[in-house]
Symmetry: C2
Subunit: 287 residues, 2 copies
């Protein structure tokens, strides 16, 4: 079978970020890196209110984390606090920005200008942190030539030129799932080394390329899981008994299922058994 490409390099699962490559090159744990933007946001808010210093306790509350965790996180960056006082807001903003690489400009291309692509193009958070939209791209002639957020939508064919010409190293994929891997390959080939993927696809990329995934459907499913648990807390809604059987019983059941020919005996995935769930997504958006 073998469904993915060759390497499953660069992480992608829920353990986002570059996990397999220890990534702790200079020591900053991945979990800490993921929290730095959180701190940065809280600090920026304080900065705007001209608050000069902040304690780990206050900042932790604002960022929604444990204060000990916050202090440990900061300790990886160096000792930027002052005991008995707290942290200098402006200085910390600068240090975190620098650590995250936000003191430089990051041109970004967005590929796939559907509903989500549009939303992202209009996204205020891009420009406000050094991320500049270098170009909007789409393969659909009906979309190319239009505009979003004041930028023209250009054709995929210009991708290579744009990436090379503007030294784009970050690409955002908001295409339908079917096109994602292909777009990804072109991005990588053109020189992009970091990809933010909104398509519900497992992208396969060569070593050295980072992929992060945002998947709305998954988030909702996780919520549903917890929601279901809340609902059926004490009532022991009995699952067909076989399901959690001790082993031999269950194995026999599996054998029976297989023997049945995989046809009519299946549970029908729960509800309205209409097929094509994954294939015919209403275009533009991932499922």
């Amino acid at each position: 079978m073998a469904i993915g490409r060759s390497p499953q390099s660069s992480s992608q699962g829920p353990d986002q970020g570059a996990s397999r490559r220890p990534s702790r090159a200079r020591g900053i744990p991945e979990a800490t890196v993921a929290r730095l933007p959180l701190y940065l946001r809280a600090l920026t808010a304080l900065s705007e209110r001209s608050v000069p210093t902040v304690s780990s306790e206050e900042l932790a509350a604002a960022a929604g984390v444990n204060s000990a965790k916050l202090r440990k996180d900061f300790s990886y960056l160096g000792s930027y606090g002052t005991r008995g006082v707290g942290y200098d807001v402006e200085y910390l903003v600068y240090q975190i920005s620098r650590e995250l690489g936000l003191t430089q400009d990051w041109p970004v291309v967005i590929v796939g200008i559907g509903n989500l692509g549009h939303a992202l193009a209009n996204y205020g958070g891009f420009a406000s942190r050094g991320f500049r939209v270098a170009a909007l791209l789409d393969a659909d002639p009906a979309v190319v030539g239009g505009s979003a957020a004041g930028l023209p939508v250009r054709h995929m064919d210009e991708l290579e030129e744009i990436v090379a010409g503007q030294h784009v190293s970050i690409g955002v994929i908001t295409t339908p799932p079917g096109a994602a891997q292909q777009v990804c390959d072109r991005l990588v080939e053109a020189g992009v080394t970091s990809i933010l993927n909104f398509a519900p696809t497992v992208l396969s990329v060569p070593d050295g390329v980072d992929v992060r995934k945002v998947d709305l459907s998954i988030e909702l499913q996780i919520l549903a899981f917890h929601e279901q648990r809340k609902a059926g807390e004490e009532p022991d809604r009995g699952d067909s008994v076989l399901d959690r059987a001790p082993g031999p019983v269950r194995a026999a059941a599996a054998k029976l299922r297989r023997a049945a020919g995989g046809g009519p005996a299946k549970p029908d995935s729960g509800k309205g058994g209409k097929p094509g769930q994954e294939g015919d997504l209403s275009a533009v958006m991932p499922a």
Copy 2:
């Protein structure tokens, strides 16, 4: 100071999901829950191609994870595989769906119908997994009355009635950051117990309410971090020496900074020091 509300209950940080409450009520680890949707997607694809069984190795490749991890994940659900053969695709689809609570219908309200709200309303992945959009809500009279994805946009005032009447337990917040906490409070008050938050805000909710956060800006910042690391691998671009100094030196520097009055001595956040980064987001979308 104290910025957030009262409790910082229910998790929210990068350690998404209900972390602090062990949540492993019946034993399924949070990390596993987060991967189940991944497996489900891969399995659904196989199911459509009428593949009857799949080995852990194959499925793991398709989902982009380690096969041992996949097997351990499945072992939490029970023993649904057959040694020497693999897993029955249809059966596993059913089991995972059931575990995630996707065999039932989950009405969802989306609050804040801006660019992103529109995109979500049109999101194919909603309906395809049992998530039904019960209503689209907005507070802006200019938006109310319009429609998105065939559904009318209704006014916030109808929230309580809709949530109660349709037994909505999941809410999606796509408002500007300033409105997020307020909307969240109303949702919770109305009876919603799971929230998917797209606004760049740390929501504070009472115990028993789950919050998951999707933050585009953070994802990009994490990518930028790794990108920067790739770029400056060997060159020891010397950071003003003070930055990583042994301690006493650094402390003195901090004292000097503070003594300087917090005014002109600050590093200016790196680039064009225009303020209002967090406050004046171009509405509609989070930053």
